[in-house]
Amino acid sequence: MSRPWLKEALKRTLYPDSVAVIGASRSPRKIGFQVVYNLIKDGFRGRIYPVNPNAEEIMGLKAYPSITSIPDEVDVAVIAIPAEKVRRALKGSIEKGVSGVVVITSGFAEVGRAEEERELVRMADEAGIALLGPNVVGILNTDHNMNLSFCPSLPYRGRITMVTQSGALAIGLVGWTWANRIGLSKMVSIGNMAQIGFEEMLEYLEDDEDTETILLYMESLKDGRRFVEIAREVSKKKPIVAIKSGRSQRGAKAAMSHTGSLAGDVKLYDVAFRASGVIPAYGLEDGFDKALALHLQPPMRGPNLVVVTNGGGAGVLASDFAEEYGLPLRDMPQDLEKEVRRAISPFGSPKNPIDLTGNAYKEDYIEVLDKVLSHPWVDGVVAIYVHAAITDPYEIADGIVSIVRRHPGKPVIMSMIGGREVSIANTWLRDNGIPVYPSPRRAVAAASALYRYGEFLERVGM
């Protein structure tokens, strides 16, 4: 269904100046309390209007008996009251002239009350407003200091937007973003996707100035074909990573042909993702790893990956995983190999994966990476540092940062293997735009995402 007004309504919903919380409460155990509390605590700068017919004021804010009695414009209404009262709250919100509603309340299609849910969508569509949910955690927008949800805090600030079908994951992942310093612009929980699903979110995010990379946690789609069409366009501008859980739902229809039965056991989602440039991720960690790499580094414009390491074992692991992830290491051209040979220790190996050996210093990394990144054959680099007794990881990281700056067109991904000693180095790398991972496997998986994205851009002529 086409809703040309929705993008604008959604924008207002994600960046409101005033919010009404229907079901605001003084009891800390109620979600209606949490939402008001979080808005205040996390510094929302717009106006907050608690709606509760049994309260005069909530957390120092004047409470209103109904949304229509608020003497101001309201951009967004949060609805956190029992399911049977939601329709009336929506009606009031529409009367008030809101741009969007966030229906936190659960107990709709997910428990078989699909007709009631459809009725909400009919009402919202008729009024031309955005409807998020039902059954959502809410919206977290770091670029608007807005925690319009019952997540305990805003995520770490950045330029990745995550859209999740699971609300519980949204709550858990907020903490994760802080622990792993993965910056989000927004986290949007889309719950039952009655009106706003992945398709609508992508249409909005395509032009959202605060979003540079998109991460999806997906269990199902409303309309697979439409998703592919929209994602294909959005992917041309911003990388999309999708963590897909569950398998293609082929329905109960028994396949009559051979092809039908074959299709039943492959992951058609991966086929669809490939068609639309969406990078598939396998699990949460992989999803964030890939989103981060795509966010920080340019796409890899060809299959020629070079691994540079100071430890042979880590290099072999990297080659193994490179093959597994569809990016097998190839022999470098003779001239490059010769140049590398001249630059490294006689005990090292100038062949891909290049082994600098354990006594490689900052200067050695710089010299070899400079040669590798300068060579037109090379499309991308995974640099590995295994903490060695005689070298300082911070020094190495600093060297990597300086050399990557000199070659901005080609992606470099780092793996730092070690304990506490490498953590400052990791921060330095990350703060300077270099994705860094604690294992060669994760670094190579991230590189494969850059390759897949580059390949997609190539395919669509970009």
């Binding site: 697979g224 293609s248 009559m256 042909s257 051979h258 092809t259 074959l262 299709a263 492959v266 086929v271």
Partner: protein
Amino acid sequence: MSDPINSIISKALSEGRKALLEHEALELARAAEIPTPRYLFTPLGSRPEPDFPPPYVLKIVSPDIIHKSDVGGVRLNIGGDELEREVGELVETVKRNAPNAEITGVLVMEMAEEGVETLVGLTRDPQFGPVVAFGLGGIFVEIYRDVSFRLAPIPIEEAREMIREVKAYKILSGYRGRPPADIDALADVIVKVSQLGDKYPEIMEMDINPLIAYPRGALAVDVRVILGE
């Protein structure tokens, strides 16, 4: 001018059939410019008079029989002199083995030369619509499930990529001194099947199995088409 593919589809649907008969499926393939061996449909009771030379393959044509060889409904390597007798015997055998099946006639087909057997198929996913599969015949598909998929319609470069993507690709690219198979001919069939899926929503599923690949060209030897409303 009426579209021959539409006529085949609507004829079957109007007769309440969900699967096209052998010769109708071949006709549909030909109309879509998918190469097939020469063939002749001989209605029950009439004399088989193919205008192409033997050896022939005979196949029973019946809306009620799916697994033809299980009821003795397939005969291979038939010469010109034996044709009429063999057709008669084939019908008798099937009547004995499947007494309740309605028999429409017999398909007489030019026997295809040996080549690499591949499969190209179409199915419809409730989420993603028409999807095309490619794989190598026999154990590669049956046991290893070595198949590549794309959403239809498929541009020719993607079709080539699909072929290269299967693990058994080596067999097509010239294995143990055999000449390489005509990848472009296979890719062309993939593209055409994908266009059928895109253009004709009534085609629910389609199997070309085998699509035999040769050093030059490819032939759709067995075509099955399942329709829906």
